[in-house]
């Protein structure tokens, strides 16, 4: 789909990043060698809940090549507790356990040695005496008054609980013709990048400066490291030019970095810690939402959905960082793409003796979408109505935008009906129905899943003040610096690291578009944190909007400056000039032209030819504030969450072997609207990847715990991520409803696919199970889970 409005935006163009990756020249954290660096391995708790009685490190310290064994006691005395997203000051968290371990795999001591292998040898020789404590694993039981307290000082296992009522919920429920209720469960899974988290830190005592190289995607990371290590912010320099081997939310690494930063400073040695896969899975604190939804829906006999009541109980594990806030973001899309009049929402975040939760792609929206779509399907089934017709009946219409939802957010734009139509056409829906029915007639189970879901984008942080009244954050800006050097070459400077989203391509495309210069010749670099302009990192599907707009803003200033120089030298009013390809000419007299090189020469060398007031050199910064941002929540918890709303419609056919319960995705199409696509290849790639990730969450992936709290799926042998053999090829159909809030009409797409795929697949499996009269409401829908459901339905052969 070429968009003729633009020269580079929306065109098929190669990315800037790929050539270094295909030649093995990416520079990931594990590739960075700091001379003299030492290596860390961790001693992990074998118990899910225990008191640490003693730690004996002598045998480890006696080994050749072993430099230090750090324990929680020392670290707790020397550092601040890590930040928590909600107001729970007594839920203290440090990189190493102190006095008590609260989950199996929690880090108890850190060993520093010459090599990683030696550090592991020494870690085995650290003896820890434990006295086991009661262990709490059930999030429902966590609410019981007599439950074991994961953090006794906090006085309860509840981190956050509030009942929001937006609109006349009770009245709507009373007035509606029908209601139904059900429970569904989203399992604990995560994005599990193929690169684990890693960090190397070096303390320079002469400069009093901590250099950090890390595999990071975390807002305000340098500030948090400095604060926790009791250093001034300008004593931490994070190098953002490190390639990050995938993140999709989870590469937060604060605890790792505090640990390594502390050791580097304490020992005067550069320290590297690269999680191995066991440390990553058990103690890397990157598990995603683990959520039980109790859903109630009020609706009319014609299928009109009136109101929702949602209780979402989220098990965040043993500690809280930003994880409770993952219940907050969905407030901004709590009715999905539907016209629903009123909503009651009760998010409850509880502690248990499990690995701590971290931000995962979508920040809580994918589970919520799964619950909402499950509700829509249930209503359709209950009314014996076609699921597509029911959706069409309830979807917000194109003419209703901007559309204010009950929880206070206004959706910017959309054309949901058209996108759904396109997806149905791409999937050849009548043929799909025929294929399903033929499979059923042949004795198979087959079902079609439909999901219509939103991707809130432009990551703002309004959930922070919403969930923590002491937090008055109302800005979540991002920035870009654009520079044209004396040779005329353009460099864009971004202020965070990248984990596969192609930001260098984004910045160069946008800057090239504005300046009409070939993006292939524009270089984009990542400033370190001491050189960086403000950024809140690539979270919340925000960079096309935020970094894209900042880059455009900076490029526009450059362009304006070039025009001003030309106007001054051509002695012509600005309005009489035209800018083309970097050259400026007089509209009426095209032969009077100042070319790019001449303008650059003046900007860099000839102040005597510069218009008064214009600074020499040619560079511009632009700090972009989130559109619609700036507001605090109302007393009843209404707030504008994110600015831009992308939409996706999934259509999927699943066939299930009735004898084994094994599902196969035989057809998959998605209609996708994220406004103007800056780089279609990148958007499509993220969408395909998001769907694959959603397939994992729907069918394969789960962090399962044993009865005594051991993580049962701690290796890639048991945590099952789909390969090319499981992920089908997927047809994407694009649609473009530009956002009125952004420079080019772009919206976000970093979570595309993932936000609807689990819902669509779950709906397909339930469509397949429907003839048996049973439903499966828990992810992942494994062969055994499907088979067991069929067993209870008594329909097995």
């Amino acid at each position: 789909m070429s968009n003729s409005k633009f020269r580079y935006i929306g065109q098929h163009r190669r990315t800037k990043e790929d050539p270094r990756f295909v030649t093995g020249r990416g520079r990931y954290v594990a590739d960075i060698v700091v001379p003299g660096m030492k290596h860390v391995a961790l001693v992990a708790s074998p118990h899910a809940s225990a008191r640490i009685k003693a730690i004996h490190a002598d045998r480890a310290l006696a080994m050749d090549g072993v430099h230090y064994v750090l324990t929680g006691a020392e670290l707790v005395a020397a550092t601040e507790a890590l930040m928590v997203g909600v107001d729970t000051p007594l839920v203290k968290r440090y990189p190493l356990a102190h006095e008590v371990v609260r989950y199996a795999g929690e880090w108890v001591a850190a060993v520093v040695a010459d090599t990683r292998a030696l550090a592991e040898d020494a870690a085995e020789r650290v003896e820890v005496e434990y006295e086991t404590l009661p262990c709490l694993l059930d999030p429902e039981a966590a609410l019981n008054p007599d439950a074991h307290l994961v953090h006794p000082a906090h006085g309860s296992n509840v981190l956050y609980r509030r009942k929001f009522v937006w609109g006349a919920v009770e009245e709507d429920f009373a007035a509606a013709a029908q209601t139904l209720s059900f429970r569904c469960r989203w399992a604990r899974s995560a994005t599990v990048p193929i690169e684990t988290f890693g960090v190397t830190a070096r303390w320079d005592p002469a400069q009093q400066l901590l250099d950090v190289w890390a595999s990071i995607q975390m807002p305000k990371y340098p500030d948090q490291i400095a604060r926790t290590l009791r250093l001034p912010g300008n004593a931490v320099r994070v190098h953002f030019d490190v390639d990050v081997g995938g993140s999709y939310g989870v590469k937060r690494g604060i605890k790792h970095t505090v640990l390594v930063g502390y050791l580097a400073r304490k020992l005067g040695m550069p320290i590297r810690f690269i999680e191995d896969r066991l440390e990553n899975m058990r103690g890397g604190d990157m598990h995603g939402p683990d959520r039980i939804f109790d859903m109630q829906v009020a609706f009319e006999n014609d299928g009109t959905i009136r109101a929702l009541k949602i209780r979402a109980l989220d098990d965040v594990g043993a500690y809280a960082g930003r994880s409770p806030l993952q219940l907050g973001k969905p407030v901004g899309a709590i009715v999905g793409p539907y016209q629903i009049h009123s909503v009651e929402y009760e998010p409850i975040s509880v502690l248990t003796n499990k690995t701590a939760q971290e931000a995962v792609r979508g920040f809580g929206q994918a589970p919520t979408n799964f619950a909402i779509e499950s509700a829509i399907d249930r209503v359709a089934r209950h009314l014996n109505m076609d699921r597509v017709a029911l959706r069409r009946h309830n979807l917000i219409r194109k003419d209703q935008f901007p559309y204010l939802i009950p929880s206070g957010t206004t959706y910017d734009s959309g054309d949901y009906h058209t996108v759904l139509d396109k997806a149905m056409a791409a999937a050849d829906y009548p043929a799909l129905v025929a294929a399903r029915d033929a499979a059923r007639a042949a004795g198979k189970l087959a079902g079609i899943g439909i999901a219509t879901c939103l991707e809130p984008s432009g990551g703002n942080s309004s959930f922070e003040p919403l969930f923590n009244p002491k937090n008055l954050t109302t800005t979540w800006m991002d920035s870009c610096l654009v520079r044209v050097d004396l040779s005329g070459a353009i460099t864009g400077v971004m202020n965070t690291s990248t984990s596969g989203q192609g930001h260098e391509t984004l910045v160069s495309t946008v800057v090239g578009e504005i300046l009409e210069r070939d993006p292939a010749d524009i270089r984009v670099v990542h400033a370190d944190s001491l050189n960086a302009l403000p950024s809140n990192s690539p979270v919340g599907s925000r960079m096309a909007i935020m970094l894209g707009s900042a880059a455009a803003g900076a490029a526009k200033i450059i362009k304006a400056n070039l025009m001003a120089i030309a106007a001054h030298n051509l002695k012509c009013p600005l309005d009489d000039l035209v800018y083309r390809d970097g050259h400026v000419s007089v509209k009426a007299e095209p032969s009077r032209v100042m070319d790019w090189d001449a303008l650059i020469e003046i900007a860099h060398r000839r102040i005597h030819q510069m218009p008064p007031g214009l600074e020499p050199g040619l560079q511009a910064k632009f700090v972009f504030e989130v559109p619609t941002g700036g507001g605090l929540p109302t007393a009843d918890g209404r707030v504008q969450m994110y600015p831009c709303y992308s939409f996706e419609a999934h259509v999927v056919l699943v066939e299930i072997d009735p004898a084994t319960g094994q599902p196969t995705l035989t057809r998959y199409a998605i209609g996708h609207d994220c406004g103007t696509m800056i780089s279609p290849q990148i958007v499509h790639g993220m969408t395909w990847g998001g769907i694959a990730h959603g397939i994992g969450a729907a069918l394969y992936e789960k962090f399962a715990f044993s009865e005594n709290g051991q993580l049962a799926s701690q290796t890639f042998m048991d945590y099952l991520m789909p390969s090319a053999m499981e992920v089908p090829s997927v047809d994407i159909v694009d649609h473009c409803t530009p956002s009125p809030l952004t420079v080019f009409g772009q919206k976000g797409s970093g979570e595309a696919g993932y936000l609807g795929a689990p819902a669509a697949i779950a709906c397909a499996i339930n469509d397949a199970l429907a003839p048996s009269g049973h439903a499966l409401d828990e992810l992942p829908m494994t062969p055994m889970a499907i088979w067991s459901t069929l067993q209870s339905a008594g329909s097995m052969k």
Binding site: R14, T15, E17, D18, P19, R20, F21, V22, T23, G24, R25, G26, Y28, A30, M63, D64, G65, D114, T115, A117, L118, T191, V192, P193, I194, E195, T196, D243, V244, G245, G246, S247, Y248, D276, R277, S499, G500, Q501, Q681, I682, H684, G685, M686, T687, W688, G689, G690, I691, A692, H693, T715, F716, M717, M721, S723, A724, M725, V727, S729, V730
Partner: protein, 166 residues
Amino acid sequence: MSAEKLHVVTLMVNGQPRSAAVPARTSLVDFLRDTLGLTGTHVGCEHGICGACSVMLDGEPVRSCLMYAVQADACAITTVEGLSQPDGTPGVLQDAFCETHGMQCGYCTPGMLISAHALLQTNLNPTEADIRDAIGGNLCRCTGYVQIVAAVKLAAEKLRATGGAK
């Protein structure tokens, strides 16, 4: 440093003779990355599932985390660096990955390239099923595989046209 016994490992890597002394427990991937400084090959799991560490060993793709460097003594290894043109620019397969954007973060990419390279050495006319089978032991969390499959198809096409030269 401790007194662990060192073994001299001598092998050909990307056509160059390389030699170094390492402890027996050094995995081949650690040897390539840490000892020889060839960091193109990546580590994802160290237990043989993700395929990020794939290299060619005597002409066949293997997982370099699943063997010790001493076991590879006197073998010929090709890593992702060895798939490039002599001047370091992308070879045909690598270029095809750029054309279709067959990656995002690039972390699985070296392993994917090795598996695809191995396939194309014996089959210049692979079906989609052949390609998926060949990369079935390489996990990618970014792409959903679609653009990777497209890249391998494209590379096969180009290689057919040029008679298989890299």
